[in-house]
Amino acid sequence: MCLNIVWAVMILFSAVCAVVLGRGALVLDAAMQGADGAVTLVLSLCAMFALWSGIMKVVEAAGQQDVLSRLLLPVVSRLFPQASRSQQCRNAVTANLTANMLGLGNAATPAGLKAVGLMKELNGDSLVASDEMCMFLVVNMSSIQLLPASVISLRAAAGSANPVDILLPAFLATLVSTLFGVAAARLLAPLFPPKKPL
């Protein structure tokens, strides 16, 4: 994973800088302070995480997701015409997208994995991603989140006067990122023709 490299570079770079700039004595304290900060952060997140996922579990059980997925149907069949021909695949795609929108990460991942697997089958089990698979990942990665709950709870914990005032800018930004992602996926697809892997 690339994170292995990123982290190693961060540590190495810091250590070299500390030696060159003569700040070596501060290194151990800083590491401890970082670890300490993480524990404090998690403790402050616990309450909101528990509360939110309780609420979201009720939303999930009540089937509010179904209402959202019915609204999404026309969009899904436009973006993924091939995948929509299989009922099973379309359901997996919709389930993943709605779970993502509601911030239900635990429900989104299995549905997304299933969707990609079914799309691969529809693509003749090729090891090269189809246009729709690329589109699905891009839409996923542009994250149409309706409620960034962890950000709001973190801001509240930090003593923000109005933690929810980022809802509107975040929503508009997420809309822009998704639109650009979809457009880029469409426009870039012909530049990356599906060739067989080596």
Binding site: L3, W7, F13, C17, A38, S53, I166, F171, F180
Partner: protein, 168 residues
């Protein structure tokens, strides 16, 4: 409006859940448990990221990175204090959350930098992680235009977040 929003949502949700015959208490407890698992589940990731961020700050590495990133950040319309957060965001959600918390502490949770970072956190994803998760699990070897398109979408989201936080 804020006087009505929360109670109204509570009434709607509870009413709908009761109508659908959901065992609300059991379900809520189950959800709360999962939330606690999530919170403690991300602790090792947060800890690892925060240690590295703290080391970079103390050693002066962060100053160098910020200086190098000054121009690109300016081009995106992002405050320079967002550098570590912006660099970490595509790699790891927990690491970005840790960097976000660092901005809240050093700049204040209501500063422009904090608001922009919050909006970016809510509008972008960990693209490298998602890519390796979804395509890796199905052994897709050629991801074709997925990464460039995702990067375009992320940059657009960052610029939009900065813009909307300034005017709203």
């Amino acid at each position: 409006m804020s006087n009505y929003t929360a109670p109204l949502l509570a009434i709607l949700l509870t009413g709908y859940a009761l109508l659908r015959g959901v065992r609300m208490y059991d379900v809520f407890v189950q959800g709360a448990l999962e939330g606690l698992h999530t919170a403690f589940g991300i602790l090792p990731y947060l800890l690892t990221a925060l240690v590295a961020v703290e080391l970079m700050k103390v050693s002066g590495a962060m100053d160098i990175l910020t200086a190098v990133m000054r121009r690109p950040m300016q081009l995106l319309g992002l405050p320079a204090e967002l550098t570590p957060f912006t660099v970490l965001r595509p790699f790891s959600g927990s690491a970005a959350l840790a960097a976000l918390q660092d901005i809240y502490v050093t700049q204040g949770p209501d500063s422009l930098a904090a608001r922009i970072a919050s909006a970016i956190m809510g509008s972008t994803e960990t693209i490298f992680y998602t890519l390796s998760l979804y395509f890796g699990a199905h052994r897709i070897q050629k991801s074709r235009h997925t990464l460039p398109a995702a990067l375009v979408s992320m940059l657009a989201g960052m610029i939009a977040a900065s813009l909307f936080c300034r005017i709203l």
